[in-house]
């Protein structure tokens, strides 16, 4: 499986969640190999912008709440890491590779997302959540939904402003 670069920064629990995004971005910015694969905008972005993009991705979901629950099940059973920016970066990178650009309308974004998911299945880029064989892109979306939900006011946590 690819995309293992985030693992060393994670598994630190809730106390470390706030502020992790900024540190992670700095780590990524210093890693040339990884940098080549991540949209350049990400390195320039302040965390607020990143969260905006994450929120945009979550808005693609028909049912963010049920996707978030799926994401939480993934965290609980497989501990894949819980850094919002990583998932945001992964999704950006995946969609970029299918021709998506920031500002594309929702229908076009959906089309690219569908392409990305189908490409995952074709290439066996599968993430198993509770024995469900989902595309990596789908799993990343579910994880992002979970992490965004955690930060929502309704969830009782502060927004992460870095």
């Amino acid at each position: 499986m690819e995309h293992e670069e985030h693992q060393s920064t994670e598994h630190h629990g809730a106390a470390h969640r706030e502020g992790v995004s900024r540190r992670t971005l700095l780590v990524l910015a210093g890693t040339a190999i990884v940098a080549a694969a991540i949209p350049s905008a990400l390195f320039l972005a302040e965390p607020e912008t990143a969260s905006g993009r994450a929120a945009g991705f979550v808005r693609l979901l028909a049912d963010p709440e049920s996707a978030a629950r799926l994401g939480e099940v993934w965290f609980e059973k497989s501990a894949p890491g819980e850094t919002l920016a990583i998932y945001e970066a992964r999704l950006s990178r995946t969609l970029d590779s299918h021709g998506w650009r920031e500002g594309m309308d929702e229908a076009e974004t959906h089309r690219r997302l569908a392409q990305a998911v189908r490409a995952d299945y074709a290439a066996n880029r599968i993430t198993v959540i509770d024995e469900w064989h989902l595309s990596e892109t789908e799993a990343n979306l579910a994880a992002l939904a979970a992490l965004v939900a955690r930060k929502s006011p309704a969830h009782g946590e502060e927004e992460d402003h870095g």
Partner: protein, 528 residues
């Protein structure tokens, strides 16, 4: 003509052209083919026309490996196991007959193409009024095959026999045939060969009432079923101490089944209408040739099997229930147990909803109604790797005739489990890539497989065909290696088991053997 063996005078010797031991699907199919041929045929059946517990008890035995029901998986009376047959028919795939370098001991001495004409005839014997096992266009009124992605999984079709109860359906044919005598309640206790063990000399017969008589045939077909065929050869040890046809120690080895797993996976689809009706249940279709009952299934295609070096799996499914967009209210009252069950069900539904809504957010479209989608129940059957350690031997326990009972040591291999798991993962990719479905693979990865979740009542491989006597018990003509006039019919011939039900194939092989026997008798008549 039918004769009650219990009324045959003690010590009678019946001389005949062809003796057929066993009046099940194979034995009756061969006898019918020879009706009116001029060859005198003696059909020998252990049971009568109806189930009898005492006769059925002769099937009891020991199961010492993966637990297996030796008695309930077969029936011992006229018509044999077709008396409780489900009627599922489908030819084996061409790849099933090939030697596959990743499947030890694979490779039939005949090809699918050689068997094709006999499949056609077997279809008639099994009363199936369509040849469209692979042709989806024949069933398009019921819908189209799922456009699954990846080219690894294909839609194919089971066609159903009514099912033909060979005993009931073909009893009049046997009764009318002037050249056929069928002895009921007559158990062959040994196939006795000549002193050098190369030719069947006589069949010793005994009834449960104690009458003994014998049959002296010019040729003999052993057609007692996939377990009993091996037992009968092993029991025939007065001259050949290891049993007939067993000089290389292969008789009884390579026992295979079709392991069934009742819930190997969960399928979710966004819209049940996308799944053709004939996938979901037995479907009756009116054709010019008559009514046909059919059902769609999923098979792994041969390019995939070659690439992944796996064994095959066949998958069927049926609707289970809808998954609503809005969670149902949890049960507030009831016992703790009831509430816990309701909560668990709600959690499961939450997962189903999450997965369906994720699909609807990516490769599908948002729900237009209150339904997020459908859950489908899934069933499957798998091919087993031929395994010499999976075998039938003789038990120390004796039956009512004083003969050693069957001892079955059935084994499942890790490779069997690995293939099934891998194939389910391929199905998950196929559904995901299609976009309107997602799959939960419930069959776990296993280091060993010591207990079967289910089986097909299919007994395969114990007198396998092979051109080389060191690799099989019978040759391509179904003749026992090293013997001039002993043949075997039935699913015990299969060197590999495919994934689908065996009856159509064993009937096709029986019809092929019938043609061979006709030629053989014609040639010997010409010589005489």
């Amino acid at each position: 003509m039918f004769i009650d063996g219990r009324k045959v005078p003690e010590g009678t010797v019946v001389e005949t052209g062809l003796a057929i031991i066993g009046a099940g699907a194979a034995g009756i199919a061969i006898a019918r083919e020879l009706a009116g041929s001029g060859i005198s045929v003696t059909l020998i059946e252990s049971g009568g026309f109806d189930f009898d517990p005492e006769t059925q008890d002769l099937y009891e035995g020991e199961s010492v490996g993966v637990d297996y029901p030796l008695t309930s998986s077969r029936l011992r009376y006229f018509g044999g196991t077709t008396n409780h047959w489900g009627g599922w028919c489908r030819p084996f795939e061409p790849i099933d007959f090939e030697e596959r370098d990743w499947v030890p001991y694979s490779g039939w001495p005949i090809t699918r193409a050689e068997l094709d004409p006999f499949y056609e005839r077997a279809r008639e014997v099994c009363q199936i009024r369509s040849p469209a096992f692979d042709d989806a266009s024949a069933w398009e009124e019921g819908g189209k095959p799922l456009p699954l992605a990846g080219g690894e999984v294909e839609t194919r079709f089971f066609l159903y026999s009514p099912p033909t109860r060979f005993g009931k359906k073909y009893r009049p044919d046997i009764e009318r045939a002037k050249n056929i005598a069928c002895y009921l309640h007559s158990n062959v206790t040994e196939i006795v060969p000549s002193e050098n063990g190369t030719e069947v000399e006589r069949l010793d017969i005994q009834t449960l009432s104690g009458v003994r008589f014998s049959v002296k045939p010019k040729a003999c077909v052993l057609a007692t079923g996939g377990i009993e065929n091996a037992r009968m050869l092993l029991l025939s040890n007065s001259v050949e101490k290891a049993g007939l046809g067993n000089r290389n120690g292969i008789v009884g080895r390579f026992f295979m089944e079709h392991p069934h797993v009742p819930s190997p996976a969960t399928f979710l689809v966004t819209d049940l209408d996308l799944v053709a009706s004939w996938y979901r249940t037995y479907t009756k279709v009116v054709t010019p040739a008559g009514n046909v009952v059919m059902r769609g299934c999923l098979l792994m295609n041969d390019a995939y099997l070659r690439r992944t070096k796996r064994l095959g799996t066949v998958i069927t499914f049926a609707p289970s229930r809808t998954i609503p967009v809005t969670p149902e209210t949890a049960l507030a009252e009831g016992t703790d147990e009831e509430r816990a069950r309701a909560e668990a069900a709600a959690r499961q539904d939450g997962m189903f909803r999450g997965v369906l809504q994720l699909a609807r957010s990516t490769t599908s479209s948002p729900a237009a109604s209150g339904e997020a989608g459908w859950r489908l129940g899934v069933g499957c059957a798998s091919e087993q790797e031929p395994n010499p350690a999976s075998r039938i031997t003789l038990s120390n326990e004796k039956d009512a005739l004083g003969l050693p009972r069957t001892k079955l040591d059935w084994h499942l291999k890790k490779s069997d489990a690995d293939s099934l798991r891998g194939n389910l993962e391929a199905v998950a990719r196929a559904f995901g890539g299609w976009g309107e479905g997602r799959v939960q693979v419930l069959f776990p990865e296993r280091d060993e497989w010591t207990e079967a979740e289910g089986w097909g009542n299919h007994h395969l491989g114990t007198t396998r065909m092979a051109a080389d006597p060191k690799r099989g018990v019978v040759d391509a003509d179904c003749r026992v290696h090293g013997m001039s006039n002993l043949f075997v019919a039935g699913s015990s011939l299969f060197p590999t088991g495919s994934t689908v039900n065996p009856t159509l194939t064993l009937v096709a092989l029986a019809l092929r053997l019938s043609d061979h026997l006709k030629r053989r008798f014609a040639q010997s008549a010409a010589v005489e």
